[in-house]
Symmetry: C2
């Protein structure tokens, strides 16, 4: 590759899908990558650019002139072009946009830049086929042929009125069977799913996957058709959403990847570890308060990691189920019902586990009262942990906070402290000391 | 609803999307649900059926005759029909299939039943438009019109040879611009992405989302075109996959939902809690071995929950990043490089946390040597936890085991034990006691 065998490389790259080229380029150094990108046909370059890792793309674009960047953007759909522009340094955005020769394309891109990245507006593209309800079928077909040039795949034909307000959609079949002179008003289907520009991407994803849609029109506050979102963008949203929840549950607070720098990874991980540290110190302080127990009942202290671990595990299990139920919108019944169910579930699990622990501790130390005290505390700890794990995500959800934050370190830490407190308190009570 | 106001309900339901009707029916009792289902138009009923919860659907189908079920299945695409049949009791499957009047549809469904649910074959549908490379454009258009009747949305036209082997695809545009007498052989695009029937659904999902495909053809072992998978099925696969990984990380071993029975939930949760119990007992045993320390250095015991929590958190963080990297295929570099990086990352995090802990313990107990011993152990524990968290998923992946199983309770438990062992061992060494 370093020999710069232009021709051989060029023919080779012709054969390869742009997503694969992007993967190869991600692995190269900056010079090699820029060289390869410049070698590619323009149509392909732009597609490769959208697939690259953000930092690689940034480096490569830094080596291209504004004119070259503008050329690539012209080849892209407006949504991908807007995403790339949003990453460029402020100084050159203006320049790049002014270099785009297709002024309508430039206008569409600029429009898209105004929308919040985290909204339907930030996801949508301007490429769509729209027809006026007052046109005849004939005008419509002519106009469509013109519009379709800019649209890679026609998912649906949308019908608007003179104000640009979305009225419905048109099936290709109806269009072909209708008389050419009929006004569109008489043939279109008035029922169409749509989303508002301000809708959250997760909501759009839910709607599209619930109704199995491949594209959905986006309207502004007064119902005017402003763009459309396709299912491939939604697939990315679903993946990112899942990754984010998974990372939150694991105690990682930003969207990081294994290949990010140590500094970025530390910033994402340290806050949660800090929380754990505070929790641990709290637990230590609690145990310090029960120090007098240590001479007679040292064994109680040996089981604190067990109690803490069980409290944490049960809490994470309960909260994970609730968080998932909330995310998929399939929770039924009231909070009270849910808490009662979780309590029974935790009590059942607790009983089984406590019985096993009882036998073990009894045989190990031969001291039935202590073994009983530990096992009974375990049940109590598990039940409380289950309730806390169920209640916190439901509570956060009610308050409009993403409940995903509640799983992982947050639940673990608070349950550790609760658990240890309950454990020593019950043990002390049962063993009649203090 | 219980008043059986047939007409009013019927008109109401006409207006509602089938996915919403399914949601309503999921909330009703069996009688109400069956009543409502029978009220619907046949075309809608079948769509509603595919969207229902599995147990609700089972109950409703139990109240329908084989003939009625067969009628619904005729309305469905082959993939959805096969999914429903696969859930029916063995005795009536035969009967239902024999009641399907469209024999080709029945044959297709039976074909699909043979494929493993967890493979591309289990996901695909038989509905597709395929043309022979030896046909002329004219024959092709005529045939397509006939085939397209059975296909809701035409994603692509696939080209096969006389043996049925997939050769390529055809763009609608090329078809329309080519001379009607030209053989397909001369106009088709020989490059087409496809998957094997035995491919795992996750792999299909990766390929389709990487190349932004809306449909992909499926071929058998010798390359014959046997079906196609559409993006909406893949969206479901991605969601299920993410849910499964999330639950594994939270220590839930089967695909359960918050609304499943207490017994099912217990079966999914208990095994992992049991693991935690064993780990806790192990930790207790280790601490028992250091019992002699307790008289002079009780404070060491107070910090065991902290040590265990930190070891668990760091382990989960490291493994989650690796598991995600593996799932998204974006890990680069060798295992050694990764371990070295994780070691440095953990050491950095460990140093910062240890410094904070040192100050706190020193002020609390005024005993610098003990505080130092605890903090130094913390660093060692964090580094080891990071290495274990990185290594285990990579190791499992190498051995062909799903690394997602490694996050959550598995890592937490092993790191708890490791952590506590290292902690007491280092503390003993540093404090010079034995």
């Amino acid at each position: 590759i370093d020999d710069r065998q232009d021709d051989a490389l060029h023919t080779m790259m012709e054969e390869v899908h742009y997503a694969d080229i992007a993967e190869i380029i991600n692995e190269l150094n900056e010079d090699q990558a820029t060289y390869l990108i410049k070698l590619l046909d323009s149509g392909k370059t732009s597609d490769v650019l959208t697939e690259l890792d953000e930092d690689v793309r940034e480096a490569i674009l830094g080596n291209l002139s504004s004119k070259e960047i503008a050329g690539e953007l012209e080849e892209l759909d407006t949504d991908d072009a807007a995403d790339i522009i949003a990453e460029l340094p402020r100084e050159i955005v203006q320049e790049v946009i002014s270099e785009i020769t297709d002024r309508e394309h430039a206008r569409d891109i600029v429009d898209l830049l105004r929308y919040d990245e985290n909204s339907a507006g930030g996801l949508m593209a301007k490429e769509l086929v729209k027809v006026n309800e007052n046109w005849t079928v004939l005008t419509c077909v002519r106009e469509m042929r013109h519009q379709a040039e800019n649209v890679t795949r026609v998912h649906s034909i949308y019908v608007v009125d003179d104000e640009g307000i979305l009225k419905g959609r048109l099936s290709l079949k109806d269009l072909l069977t209708a008389s050419t002179k009929a006004p569109i008003r008489e043939v279109y289907i008035p029922k169409v799913d749509f989303v508002n520009v301000n809708e959250k991407p997760e909501e759009v994803a839910k709607i599209m996957s619930k109704y199995d849609l491949e594209a959905i029109p986006v309207v502004d506050e007064i119902g005017r058709l402003v763009g459309r979102i396709t299912i491939d963008d939604i697939v990315d949203v679903i993946r990112e959403e899942a990754d984010k929840d998974y990372q939150l549950a694991a105690g990682i607070s930003q969207d990081v990847e294994a290949d990010d720098s140590i500094w970025e990874l530390t910033r994402a991980r340290l806050p949660w570890l800090f929380l754990g540290l505070v929790g641990g110190v709290g637990a230590a302080a609690i145990m310090g308060g029960f120090e007098s127990l240590i001479s007679q009942h040292a064994i109680l202290f040996f089981f604190t990691p067990l109690i803490a671990a069980m409290a944490g595990n049960v809490g994470v299990q309960s909260s994970a189920i609730i968080v998932q139920g909330l995310a998929n919108d399939d929770l039924k019944g009231s909070i009270t019902q849910r808490l009662v169910k979780e309590m029974m579930l935790a009590a059942l699990n607790g009983l089984i586990l406590a019985a096993v622990l009882l036998l073990f501790t009894w045989f190990w130390k031969g001291n039935l009262p202590t073994a009983l005290a530990i096992s009974i505390s375990l049940i109590a700890v598990i039940v409380v942990a289950g309730i806390v794990g169920t209640f916190i995500p439901l509570f956060l959800h009610r308050r409009g906070i993403d409940p995903a934050i509640a799983t992982g370190p947050f639940i673990t830490t608070s349950n550790d402290i609760f658990g240890i407190l309950i454990y020593f308190w019950i043990a002390k009570l049962l063993l009649g000391i203090g």
